[in-house]
Symmetry: C2
Subunit: 345 residues, 2 copies
DNA sequence: ATGAAAGCGCTAACAA
DNA sequence: TTGTTAGCGCTTTCAT
């Protein structure tokens, strides 16, 4: 194994000079640096991670807490993971994935104390998220994908729910729909409420009112089977609804499947817009979903970059970002006029 | 920060005794151990990762190379990642995710040289996989999810393609189908061939012959849009096919959607079995897929456990595992007799 | 502009 | 059964 000492010996300099050649942390004669770098390349020298972490007290790893169990299949979660991992990797950091299905904050602390972890990326943020206070108390840098109820002091990348809701609802209105439903992840008061659900809920209510739309909420767990049940619930209880705004991604797919099973045609009998589907995923459903694009991959990259900028001591201007997303018109939406004509047939 | 020295001081022992109390690497008087452990708990002491790695030359991290880009959405990949991460975590290892979209073996070597990595888990294995030889040469322990053409010397968890193919084809035969198609990921000779594709292909050909079935192969890229095209190709070129065995997961979903678009009823007009869909995912499609369960989560756990057993020097009995999977009958398959009756209607 | 040297917190060989 | 000690490879302060 090649060490810094070996590089130093060959370059005829001291070990510390090698360090400075590599980091640029102090001025160095260009020729010396070039000579060292050449030898580094020749020997294929790679700094030892643990030694650096031990000596410098800094780690080139960040961790992502992710909610994963044996059925956890949300394609969006994978987008977040992939985006975050690539962003970290591009900056020379390794990404540690930490399952937090039954998240014990002490585990995070242990990870941090172990020195294995320079920062934490969190997803699936709850309005009142105990992990946040814990990380804050422990002085562990973190960034959220999502945000808590009062995120003023924290780093986050989240969606601009108002804009997204307005985009979707305005399109429904343009298509002539007046009576809409929106499908949310089940929010029970006894259970942690995620920011995404709560904020979407209020944004949709606000903008449907503003636009003169009649909006009814349907709650469902976020899995494909529950989505099928949600469809039936809608038909039985709100047969006059002509358009659906769908939040949880898996439920949405299940909902469409439930509609197919009942012989309902989308978009002829019901228009559907998803707001939590990345545009790269719209082909996973039939018909191709109309979506307000969820740029999950890029959002995760942004969150990582914020966190890394922070721990590297860089000036971070936009440490709180809200992203909207473009309307991508697929085949799951149609004007109401068609709808009625078809019904008349 | 609490260190081992602090624990030792309070317990009135030397630092090394604390180490042994913690690792059990040499015998220790029970009272001494208990006293030490009590203090460890009190102080909330967590060993420093980097120090241990530096001193011992061993790391409590393993890396998973995963093929991730901004559209990489295979739900199965997420199952692998989740299973592997949970397995590692359960044994006290941190899982490092390393994107290997354009995998440069030197990057892996750098990771290993950096000492950040005790073992590597690989997925999406090609028949001739340069990463494997590289890891072997570098002496880096690894386990594959999948396997190369000649994996005799290596650790792997893969599917028993023969059993899986036989299960699916036998069921088709029982249902009365004789003319089947199978949908594979595009295999071009100019491109690396993955083990899963090559092995499934030959297993299907073998067992369809054995069972007296007429099998035609359809190739497609593994994405939902390509699946739609694959459907059209099948109808135009092989209208007499009554059953489809589908391999790539995203293509399968796209294929179903393509069929819906053409107004084809599944399973009435065409029966479909997927062999690469975990049973927890069958609700993602309409109709609910009949599948030969892909136990991706458990397979990934197994791969991690093999790798960890190896690096911990444990006796590993089953370092090469082939998993089959049960037939899960959904709504995408029907007897041929119904098929013909329906056509007569 | 560069070198020397003292650790970082832990492991493991060697002693006792 | 336990203690002592010499590093692991690097960073960083203090000298030069």
């Amino acid at each position: 194994m090649t060490t810094r000492a070996e590089v130093a010996r060959r370059a005829g300099v001291s070990a510390s000079t090698v360090t400075y050649a590599l980091t640029g942390a102090r001025s160095i004669k260009p020729e010396t640096r070039d000579r060292i770098l050449k030898i580094v390349a020749e020997l294929n020298y790679v700094p030892h991670f643990a030694a650096g972490a031990l000596a410098g007290g800094k780690t080139k790893t960040i961790a992502m807490l992710f909610p994963g169990n044996d059925t956890g299949i949300s394609p969006v979660a994978l987008q977040y993971i992939t985006g975050a991992t690539n962003a970290a990797s591009a900056r020379g950091y390794a990404m540690i994935l930490w399952p937090s299905a039954n998240v014990d904050p002490h585990e995070i602390a242990a990870l941090a104390k172990s020195g294995l972890l320079g920062a934490v990326i969190l997803m699936e943020i709850e309005l009142e998220d105990s992990r946040i206070n814990y990380l804050q108390d422990q002085g562990i840098p973190f960034a959220m994908i999502g945000r808590t109820r009062n995120p003023e002091k924290f780093n986050y990348v989240d969606r601009d729910f108002e804009k997204v809701s307005n985009t979707a609802l305005t399109y429904f209105k343009e298509l002539g729909h007046r009576k809409i439903a929106f499908l949310t992840q089940d929010i029970k008061t006894s259970v942690p409420i995620k920011g995404v659900d709560a904020r979407f809920q209020s944004a949709i209510l606000k903008y449907s009112k503003k636009l003169g739309l009649d909006a009814v909420e349907i709650r469902s767990q976020n899995d494909a089977y529950a989505g099928r049940l949600a469809y039936r619930y809608l038909r039985e209880n709100h047969p006059d609804v002509t358009a659906l705004l769908a939040l949880p991604d898996l439920t949405t797919i299940g909902f469409l499947n439930g509609a197919h099973e009942e012989g309902i045609s989308i978009p002829k009998d019901l228009s559907v817009i998803s707001v939590n589907t990345p545009k790269s995923h719209i082909n996973l459903s039939w018909p191709k979903l109309t979506t307000v694009d969820l740029p999950a991959y890029a959002m995760a990259m942004a969150a990582v970059n914020i966190a890394l900028d922070k721990i590297e001591g860089k000036q971070v201007l936009n440490h709180q970002q809200l992203w909207a997303g473009d309307l991508i018109v697929g085949d799951s939406t149609a004007p109401l006029i068609n709808n009625m004509v078809n019904k008349a047939n």
